[in-house]
């Protein structure tokens, strides 16, 4: 006990009685030390409180969640001939008894509605949307749509999209060109899902780049939504936004829009190397024989990377019309070009195989190795 008393007295003496008598660096050191001790205590206390609160909330929410799941399970069992509006009106009084003024309960209910809506379609999904609207759960999401915080806007957009609330499309369209990338992509996904008549309108207005990551996500969303109207994507190949061009190229390939082939050929000379490379690749995968002469003509002045793409594409088309051209590059001084030319020759099946045999007999050791490599079925690119 005496130790604590003397320690207390010493600290009082150090921090109060003698405080002004210390040199400046000691005064500052004492202050920094004090701040650090307060900081450490605060951090450790925060960790403790956080864990305790989470434990309590988890326990409390588990009971509520169970109750809400049961209520939703009851509402989902109805006859096909029942009107969704009537079904909802029947159950509304029970849901209204929930203390929805509490945000945690509202959150659980919305999350369960979303999860069920995702798993059901048709009338069941309609019933869930109807319930969501009649309980006025959309009010908060609509309000958050106007929030100054991007993460609240994202949550609102997600909620409205999942619950298929379509009347906020115009507002969402504005966010498709937002400078916050995550908000932008969420808005683009939402717009594509909600605005069924003209889901690609956002491509006309988007000035910000559709990042590769976003293209990938949008591509998956679009190609997995079967009911969507699909325009002629070649329309956007003249866009000033290169990322829009790049994105539309992928969709042209996926939907095999052959009428876009002339536009793709035009892109062989695009200033952006990525677009040029993508266009060339797609011409190959769409087996655009009409592009062969253009590819051969453009070949000479291209960087190595594009030359390789052109050769790959000629291999994919494999019409036989370019075998002589490929043969001339099978001895190119650049290794990647040589390899690509030999691969392209191999893609010509019988005629290619014959040419490779001839090349093999004439080739030097390294080229023989390339031919062997290309012919080995166990080695895949």
């Amino acid at each position: 006990m005496d130790i604590f008393v003397s320690a207390g007295n010493y600290l009082h003496d150090l921090f109060i009685s003698r405080f002004s008598a210390h040199p400046l660096y000691i005064t500052l050191s004492l202050l920094i030390m004090l701040l650090c001790v307060i900081g450490i205590a605060e951090v450790l206390f925060y960790i403790l409180i956080r864990r305790a609160t989470e434990f309590y909330q988890l326990k409390r929410d588990a009971d509520l969640k169970e109750r809400i799941i049961t209520m939703l399970a009851n509402i989902l069992v109805f006859h096909d001939s029942d009107d969704p509006g009537l079904v909802v009106s029947h159950f509304i009084p029970r849901f209204a008894k929930l203390p929805l003024y509490r945000s945690s309960i509202r959150r659980i209910l919305v999350s369960e509605l979303i999860s069920n809506h995702r798993n059901f379609s048709g009338r069941t999904a309609q019933v869930l949307t109807e319930l969501y609207m009649q309980l006025k759960l959309d009010k908060r999401a609509r309000k958050n749509l106007h929030s100054p915080h991007w993460y609240k806007q994202i949550e609102a957009i997600r909620e409205l999209t999942e619950m298929n609330v379509k009347d906020e499309c115009d507002r969402i369209l504005k966010y498709t060109n937002h400078r916050q990338p995550q908000l932008r992509i969420e808005a683009q996904i939402a717009f594509v899902k909600l605005c069924v008549d003209n889901p690609f309108r956002f491509l006309d207005i988007v000035k910000e780049p559709v990042l590769d990551w976003h293209q990938l996500i949008l591509f998956e969303v679009i190609t997995k939504t079967e009911t969507m109207a699909r325009p002629r994507f070649a329309f956007w190949l003249n866009s000033e936004n290169d990322s829009v061009v790049s994105f539309c190229l992928k969709l042209i390939e996926y939907y095999q829009q052959f009428d876009a082939l002339p536009n793709l050929i035009y892109l062989i000379n695009h200033h952006n190397l990525t677009i040029r490379a993508t266009a060339i690749e797609i011409l190959g995968r769409m087996e655009a024989e009409m592009a062969e002469s253009h590819l051969v003509a453009a070949f000479t002045n291209q960087p190595t990377k594009i030359k390789v793409k052109i050769l790959n594409t000629l291999g994919l088309i494999a019409s036989g019309g370019c075998l002589a051209f490929l043969n001339s590059h099978a001895k190119n001084k650049e290794f990647p070009v040589r390899m690509a030319a030999i691969r392209a020759i191999k893609a010509h099946r019988q005629s290619g195989r014959e040419l490779l045999d001839t090349l093999f007999n004439e080739a030097i050791a390294q080229d023989k190795a390339i031919i062997k490599h290309v012919l080995d079925e166990r080695i895949k690119v």
Binding site: I26, S29, C36, H373, I379
Partner: protein, 452 residues
Amino acid sequence: MSTFESIVNNSIFFYALLLILSVVTIVFISSFEINKYLRTNSYINYKELLVSPHAPSISVISPVFNIEEAVVNHVRALFALQYNNFEIIIVNDGSTDNTLEKLKEFYQLENVNFAVYEQLKTQAVHSYYKSKNPAFAKLTVIDKAFGGKPDALNAGLNTSEKELTLCIEVDCFLDKNSLLKLVKPFLENKKRVIAAGTAVHVANSSGRNKGHLLNAKFPGKLLPGLQALEYFKWFLIERLTSSSLNGAHVITGAAGLFDKEILIQSGGYSLKALKEGFELIVRMCRYMHDNGLQYRVVFIPDPLCWVEAPANLKALAKQRKQWAGGNSQIFWLNKDLFFNKNYGLLGLVHFPYWFLHEWITPFFKVITLFLLGALAVTGKINWEYLCILFLMIYFFAVLLSAISVLYEEKSYRQYSSSTDIFRIVALIFVAPVIYHPLTVYWKVMAYIRVKN
């Protein structure tokens, strides 16, 4: 108080203040960054990337040397990575045991005729192997003469035909979503991303089976525990800040994803570098600057890689001395970077800061101790003031560790049991007293040896 003592005390204080202010700035930046990262990533679903035909292609390159017992499980763990467009290149770097035979037997390998575009010079490659079993079509094994890890990685790079390259160490455990998470920065930046690194955690007490990590547990022993705590600080505070300022932060050798084209054009892995990961990143950054190309080096704080930390003093000392020697080498080789405005933030901020933090500070600490010793011997010391100065430094170090633990708690919370938390909290108070002086000692010894 003598003038000399006053000078010593003042210099200790003001140098400590300079460091404290720089660290506080870093803490603020990292706090902002981690919140931003966690918030943004809470909306991310990697499912689309997993199934996408447009996901960039990756080569996972792993050099192996004399690990016959572990090699099969190591490759098995790589096969379990979640990604649809990747290949595995195992480079047997002149093993003298049965490493290659084990691989050949288990994965049904047979010799293939491989033509390689040899952009990087390496030791002679004896042969290339592919599996006759289509289930292992992703696997390529290179058997080459011994040349060390960097040489083996270069051989792997020559063989790779993919866009990105993940270079890993054999003793690390990768999270199965590592590729998905590491690829994302390459797809979402307006500037070209040349490398992405991830946080490393200590796996010493964690459960594992056949190359997979089963459950995360905070190390039970003192030394690995202290290192685990240090890793929180490095990864969740320092590297996150460096990444946000686009610094050429260290991409750990344990797991780093690189833009293969830039990696090769920068010259690949250096055979002479003591800290090859850091040296490579600095060289890649220089290459981008020299060619007027905009770039980003990204760090993601997700705990994707788990390593076995040295469990005894001897091994730890060896590791730390090697790292410190590597730092010295990098500072010396890139001395023209210091305050060179042509290299932007890299030359003006990052390099000088690293030098101050990694090189000057340990020496300053040692010199200060000598001076204080001299003062004590001559009896010209105010012990009370000295204790106050040391306590300030101690509590600041404790606070810094506590903040890094807080970040871990708020973000990924790898260690959820109460025992782990109590252990971590206890180590926070112990680390500045026993661990920190040791690391300083090892650094100084390494610097002196390199200088000599």
